[in-house]
């Protein structure tokens, strides 16, 4: 049962930002609603106003430009899974999008909404971190880029300011040497652990290794000590270091015990998934 609220339907980012500034915490941005409406139905959060941003034009594009693959924040998971550009350029993200929740959630849910809601047991933020994505935050007076790894502050908390909207997600276009993979595991509706890995493989050596772990703790995070065990190594050395890197990544993941598994269990799964994600990325 949803409680009454009022609806605002701005048609520009500036108008949406102005409404957010004016109504503060009594209002919330609404896009696909797949997570927000559940929390509202449960009575966990309550707002006097929802600001429907789906009438803002130009936030559903998927384009390759300036060395970036750029996604409008209003792209639904369905639009992303059907995008041949995404399938071609970023197959790991394409596969992730094919496996978000279920077909109905993918139909309504948006990538931007998924990131902004910052539900800890979500997929996209983890891989976007490993891919070196930048998130564009916009308000009436201007815009800024936030690195994906600086976006998530805590469970359900991002570094967006109160009157800022996430408008675009920018992922560096891959080269012939780029490798990446995302794997998740869980036994409930949402994943217990998600692990993303991305690196360049050139002449048998690995560089720019980025590993991110999601779902284990309150927010997805990079695991730099684990990355160091693979970065600059030959493929063979990296494979020898994988088990150790997995154990380190588990410890660095800040896993917490919750419904989706104990801390120990999640740390173990991080190691298993890192190994498999690495193998999937190099194959």
């Amino acid at each position: 049962m949803l409680r009454r609220f009022r609806l605002e339907e701005p048609e520009s980012v500036a108008d949406a930002s102005e409404l957010l500034g004016r109504f503060g915490e009594s209002a919330k941005v609404y896009a696909g609603g797949t997570e927000l409406l559940l929390a509202m139905k449960e009575g966990l959060v309550q707002y006097e106003r929802l600001i429907n941003v789906k009438r803002v034009k130009g936030l559903s594009e998927i384009v390759a430009a300036d060395g970036m693959i750029r996604f409008g924040a209003l792209c639904t998971h369905h639009e992303l899974e059907k995008s041949s550009l995404l399938q071609q350029k970023l197959p790991s993200l394409h596969k992730l999008e094919q496996n978000v929740a279920n077909v109905r959630v993918r139909q309504s849910g948006t990538l931007g909404g998924n990131l902004c809601f910052a539900e800890p047991h979500a997929d996209p933020g983890t891989l976007l971190m490993a891919l070196g994505a930048k998130l564009v935050a916009e308000k009436s007076s201007g815009k800024r880029e936030i690195a994906a790894e600086d976006f998530f502050v805590d469970a359900y908390e991002t570094s967006l300011q109160a009157d800022e909207l996430l408008t675009e997600i920018r992922v560096p276009a891959p080269t012939d040497h780029s490798r990446s993979a995302y794997l998740k595991f869980g036994y409930l509706e949402r994943p217990s652990v998600g692990v993303a890995v991305a690196f360049n493989m050139n002449g048998g050596g690995l560089s720019e290794v980025k590993i991110a772990v999601g779902c284990a703790g309150p927010a997805p995070r990079r695991v730099p000590e684990a990355e160091m065990l693979l970065n600059g190594k030959s493929r063979e050395e990296a494979e020898r270091n994988l088990a150790q890197a997995g154990a380190v990544a588990g410890r660095e993941s800040q896993a917490i015990t919750d419904l989706h598994g104990s801390q120990d269990y999640k740390e173990h799964i991080v190691g298993v998934l890192l190994k498999r994600a690495f193998q999937s990325a190099v194959s």
């Binding site: 949803l2 409680r3 009454r4 609220f5 009022r6 609806l7 009594s26 609603g33 797949t34 409406l37 559940l38 139905k41 309550q46 707002y47 006097e48 929802l50 369905h78 094919q98 929740a101 279920n102 077909v103 109905r104 959630v105 139909q107 309504s108 509706e189």
Partner: protein
């Protein structure tokens, strides 16, 4: 803390959409859910409220041919859209859709609670992929839960309907 809103504050939004081929015009409040409008205001009870969190698929409706969870879709969102419920699937003369026939023929249900959602989700699948592999079928249908059967007969029903529909095309 947001203050509770009362009926006095009601904001009415005009809503025009097509329901099973028939134009509907009504006013809805922003918080009204598609499932409540279809079941309680328009009297079509095929779609079921079950999990209420977009997990089970019992409330599946097709909006412009795509499956949505009516339990978590705000009614105003379907303005200008075409909505199909299980009540609108058979032909006007009562002839069942091949999916409905196949579910009967292959025993694709027991209690029937999940069936409207199963059939509509399956229709969305077959409309975009007339010859799905079993893996594709399972991937698409994994968000529709049946608590009676082992899914085997549901899969058989959808595969049989797909075959029949390809034959008719």
């Amino acid at each position: 803390m947001a203050k509770a809103m009362t009926r006095h504050d009601a904001q009415l939004l005009p809503l025009t959409f097509t329901l099973n081929g028939r134009v509907q015009e009504l006013d809805v409040e922003p918080h009204e859910l598609l499932l409540d409008v279809v079941r309680d205001r328009l009297g079509l009870t095929g779609a079921k409220r079950s999990c209420d969190v977009q997990v089970c698929g019992a409330c599946t409706l097709l909006v412009d041919g795509r499956p949505v969870s009516a339990c978590t879709t705000l009614a105003f969102e379907i303005r200008g859209c075409s909505v199909l419920t299980i009540e609108g699937l058979a032909e006007k003369n009562g002839k069942l859709h091949p999916l409905q026939e196949a579910f009967i023929e292959h025993g694709g249900f027991q209690c029937g609670f999940c069936t409207p959602g199963m059939i509509l989700a399956a229709k969305a699948l077959l409309d975009e992929n007339a010859a799905p592999s079993e893996a594709e079928l399972k991937h698409f249908m994994h968000g529709n839960i049946c608590r009676c059967t082992g899914y085997k007969k549901i899969i058989e029903s959808i595969m049989a309907a797909a075959k029949k529909m390809r034959g008719n095309a």
